[in-house]
């Protein structure tokens, strides 16, 4: 793994599944069409918080178009509060079922209450009108502060605040409290020459995957069921379905279709359980696909947050203390990423004295899910703008300030976990030496901002198989759903290790019946963990191929050497492809298996550098130039590594400037792409990328996880740029035109002057 020159790694071949994607041939979940298939439509609660007094499905059942009806009564009652690891988080099994369908009570608007199956989607939509539900509305808890008040209406009467020191004594909407302490934070602040303290508010956002959730389920007479679905984790869907239906996992086969985006939001079966109930009742396959408004209101968005940060530094720039309060909105059931957020925000810096408190708070909003570096973007906004302000007050360059406090290998995170090989300083150096950093900035109301980010990246377990064809090609069977082009990278590893052409490697994503266990595609783990599994499978294959080469070369097995795709012994040689093609002659077929697990971390640091022009009359922020930096360890396929940086940056831009759930009394007012404003091609410039390669401690080629760190810094970088453009420190996300305009106007009023005129740029 010490080589730095590779034949295939680092090149840019066309991805093997590319042809299917550009011709529309590849099958996504909603493309599944099966004989006798029925369509499900789900009736959803119009109330954010209510008791279900009565559901009358008799008229629907009697209607000739309705073949089956489903309510919460059709799901097994789960009494224990056993937590299930979904691969991304752990969730109470009862809550998992409630996310599929409510029973007794609804806790967010849009929660599923009943469903029908008909021969067409139109008939199903009509049939829903025949179901009568009687609700008793309850008081709505619509925001974090309201939820945390002592006298707040309780969403779950049996929920007590859990912390590492025990459980609270009174029921609460605060599901858990995490805390981190080190040194003596008050003594630390006493040493500070400059202190900055600010409060931030960020709004709920959605992952915004363009493909709505969809699943088709076919229950078989023998008690098994097959699920075709859009998911990041087939094995995770399998275990959750097994929990919901209280059956052994082997009874459920999950076939992951091509997936139209996930970003953390497709690890939960939102519609598959309902389709399963309806399929069991009818014996036919049932397809359930969400409409976009259902995706917004009834899947798992990213948390809103209230964050207070106080940081202090000495006049030479050394950070001495940090204190923070983080409260994250979990939605209707516990499980926001506040625990991660506490760690992520401060991870890049050495801080000797700290006290960080995080609160997971339930509200009558859809239950949140992971959204790319979960928890990281809001806390990144807070910490990276406070850091920017500290540097400014000390008259220090923002990169120099960070460099002074940057963590290095061997340093510890606030949870005491030690950094192995990391590249934060290298990222900072890359930013400072980049032409963008010192390019002249011309025009009125323009500013440049920088911010950094971090993601520890996951490890987990992957299983892969290699099998070999009579034409010398290799099949790679893996279990990681391909959401970013990972199939290509995995094929490239096989090509590199075996010394064959990447076109001779054919990767497939298998299902839960045809391959051993795999953790999900997420947490920035695939390139790393599946990469390790692929690498190990290749080493196994090389050993076995050596024996076969020996037969063909007519030498002793022990004398065969392998390098660069050639087996050599006794002055003779033979290429890998030929050995593979002749397996049946030298002893018959074999397979190689690779498994990865128990891997050390391969964390990533990132940075966003942005130039903006702000129109003070409208508050509109125009992005003039963007450069995104990240330590990727080793870019297996640079185009797809760049794609992760660019995609994460633009999601961060949306989070920073325009995306938010607008709630009134628990109702989302903007559940469509028209009013939930994601960036279009017109909103962003080219996103230049810089891939820094500091090899990770473990893993082939020094590769790191790559998908998530890019979404953490963009809002803070934009805020820091806006400050330099118009002199206002933004503390709310998104920094919509209205909010920016108000901040500019308030500043002008405070200074007794008029709002500056003139076009930006």
């Amino acid at each position: 793994m010490a080589k730095t020159e590779y034949r295939v790694i680092g090149t840019r071949p066309i991805r093997p599944d590319g042809y299917g994607k550009v011709t529309g041939r590849d099958q996504y979940a909603a493309d599944v069409i099966l004989p006798g298939m029925l369509y499900a439509k789900i009736l959803r609660s119009p109330h954010p918080h209510a008791i279900i007094k009565k559901i009358d499905v008799s008229k629907a059942l009697a209607h000739p178009s309705v073949l089956a009806v489903c309510t919460g009564e059709d799901f097994p009652h789960i009494s224990s509060s056993a937590k299930i690891d979904t691969g991304e988080e752990s969730i109470d099994a009862r809550h998992m079922t409630a996310l599929a369908m409510a029973a007794g009570k609804v806790v967010y608007k849009g929660q599923a209450v009943a469903a029908v199956a008909c021969a067409s989607f139109a008939e199903a939509e009509e049939a829903l009108k025949l179901i009568e539900v009687e609700y008793e509305p309850l008081p709505v808890v619509d925001d974090i502060e309201a939820a945390m008040r002592e006298d707040a209406p309780l969403i779950h009467g049996d929920m007590y605040t859990v912390s590492l020191s025990g459980s609270g004594s009174r029921p609460s909407n605060i599901a858990s409290h995490v805390s981190y302490e080190g040194g003596d934070v008050e003594a630390g602040f006493a040493e500070a020459d400059v202190i900055v303290e600010r409060e931030f508010r960020t709004r709920m956002v959605h992952q915004g995957y363009i493909e709505p959730q969809s699943a088709t389920v076919w229950a078989h007479p023998d008690g098994r069921m097959t699920v075709w679905t859009s998911t990041q984790g087939a094995w995770q869907i399998r275990s959750q379905m097994a929990t919901i239906f209280q059956v052994p996992v082997g009874r459920i086969r999950v076939i992951p279709m091509e997936i139209g985006g996930g970003f953390g939001g497709k690890f939960t079966p939102y519609v598959a359980p309902v389709a399963a109930v309806l399929s069991r009742k009818t014996g036919r396959p049932v397809k359930a696909t969400m409409k976009r408004s259902e995706v917004f209101q009834a899947t798992g968005p990213g948390s809103a947050a209230i964050i207070r940060v106080k940081m202090g530094a000495k006049k030479d720039g050394t950070l001495v203390a940090a204190k923070a309060f983080l409260a994250y909105d979990a939605g209707a059931f516990p499980g926001s990423p506040v625990g991660s957020a506490c760690v992520i925000g401060f991870s890049p810096y050495k801080i000797p004295n700290f006290k960080i408190d995080g609160y997971d708070v339930v509200t009558n909003h859809p239950r949140v899910k992971a959204y790319r570096a979960p928890g990281g973007t809001p806390v990144g906004m807070a910490v990276e703008t406070v850091i920017d302000e500290l540097a400014e007050r000390l008259g220090m360059d923002p990169i120099d300030f960070r460099m002074k406090n940057a963590v290095e290998p061997g340093d510890r995170m606030i949870n005491e976990v030690q950094y192995n090989s990391i590249g934060f300083k290298q990222v900072l150096e890359a930013v400072k030496s980049h032409p963008h950093y010192s390019a002249p900035l011309e025009g009125q109301h323009v500013g440049r901002g920088v911010a950094c980010g971090f993601w520890p990246n996951g490890g987990g377990t992957s299983t892969v198989h290699l099998s070999f064809n009579g034409d010398g090609t290799v099949n790679l069977i893996e279990g990681s759903t391909d959401i970013g082009g990972s199939r290509a990278s995995m094929a490239m590893i096989v090509a590199e290790e075996l010394g064959i052409d990447v076109e001779d490697v054919r990767p497939f994503v298998a299902d839960t019946d045809t391959l051993g266990y795999n953790d999900g595609t997420g947490g920035s783990r695939v390139t790393y963990s599946t990469g390790v599994a692929v690498y190990r499978a290749c080493q196994d294959a090389i050993q076995k191929l050596k024996a076969r080469a020996a037969v063909l070369l007519e030498v002793d097995e022990g004398s065969v050497e392998f390098s660069d795709g050639v087996f050599r012994a006794g002055g003779k040689e033979i290429r890998t492809k030929e050995v593979i093609a002749k397996l049946n002659k030298t002893g018959g077929p074999f397979e190689s298996v690779g498994v990865s697990g128990r891997l050390g971390r391969a964390p990533s640091f990132s940075a966003s550098l942005v130039d903006v022009a702000v129109d003070p009359e409208t508050g509109k922020v125009q992005i003039k130039r963007w450069t995104q930096f990240q330590d990727v360890g080793k870019a297996i396929h640079p185009s797809y590594a760049e794609g992760q940086l660019q995609g994460g940056a633009v999601q961060g831009i949306g989070w920073g400037l325009s995306e938010e759930y607008v709630f009134r009394d628990g109702h989302m007012l903007n559940p469509s792409f028209l009013d939930y404003r994601m960036p279009t091609a017109l909103d962003v410039p080219m996103i230049d990328t810089v891939l820094i390669e500091v090899p990770a401690s473990d893993g082939p080629y020094g590769v790191r996880g790559v998908g998530e760190a890019s979404i953490v810094p963009p809002p803070a970088a934009l805020a820091n740029a806006i400050y330099r453009a118009v002199g206002v420190r933004m503390t709310e996300l998104p920094m919509s035109p209205e909010r920016v305009w108000r901040a500019v106007a308030a500043k002008a009023a405070a200074e007794g002057g008029e709002v500056a005129h003139g076009k930006a740029g």
């Binding site: 590319g18 529309g24 069409i33 989607f121 915004g208 363009i210 794609g643 792409f673 279009t680 091609a681």
Partner: protein, 163 residues
């Protein structure tokens, strides 16, 4: 109702209910599932097809409105197994990650290049603003469209020379 339309160069006759969108009929009746549904109300462009040379959101067109019209979907972009320069450029430039928005972008881009054969970056972004992508950040998509435009320009120039 009976609808007659030329779909990907082939004259077709199919049945559609008055309430059905063209998107639904393409996918469910004609089994052309390459065109995708992302939002059902014309805000994401995943359902973009070309009707009489213009890009349209098929989720906003009733199937019966396609009567007598000429329609091209993603399935008709390649010539047999020969990829269109846009498809080839998207692959080379890695202008897709999950691929869900890709058919819509390809059709919108084809319509754009039919109208403006050598667009500037701004023109590309402007004309593709109705197509949402969540994975790529648009950078590589814009580059791919410009690359395809350049190749098509060069191919036309070569044809003119040899003509």
């Amino acid at each position: 109702m009976k609808v007659q339309a030329k779909v990907n160069g082939i004259e077709l006759e199919f049945l559609a209910e008055p309430r059905q969108t063209l998107l639904e009929v393409l996918r469910e009746e004609l089994r052309l599932t390459g065109t995708k549904e992302g939002c059902s109300n014309g805000n994401c462009g995943a359902c973009t097809i070309i009707m009489n040379g213009r890009p349209v959101n098929s989720c906003l067109i009733l199937a019966v409105q396609a009567d007598g019209q000429e329609i091209q979907t993603i399935e008709g972009l390649a010539s047999g197994t020969a990829l269109h320069p846009l498809q080839q450029a998207f692959l080379e430039e890695a202008a897709l990650q999950c691929g869900f928005c890709t058919p819509g972008f390809l059709m919108a881009s084809k319509a754009l290049l039919g109208k403006i054969p050598e667009p500037t970056e701004d023109e590309v972004r402007h004309h593709l603003a109705g197509n949402l992508c969540r994975c790529t950040g648009y950078d590589k998509i814009v580059r791919a469209v410009m690359k395809a435009a350049e190749r098509m320009r060069a191919a036309r120039a070569e044809e003119e020379v040899s003509a």
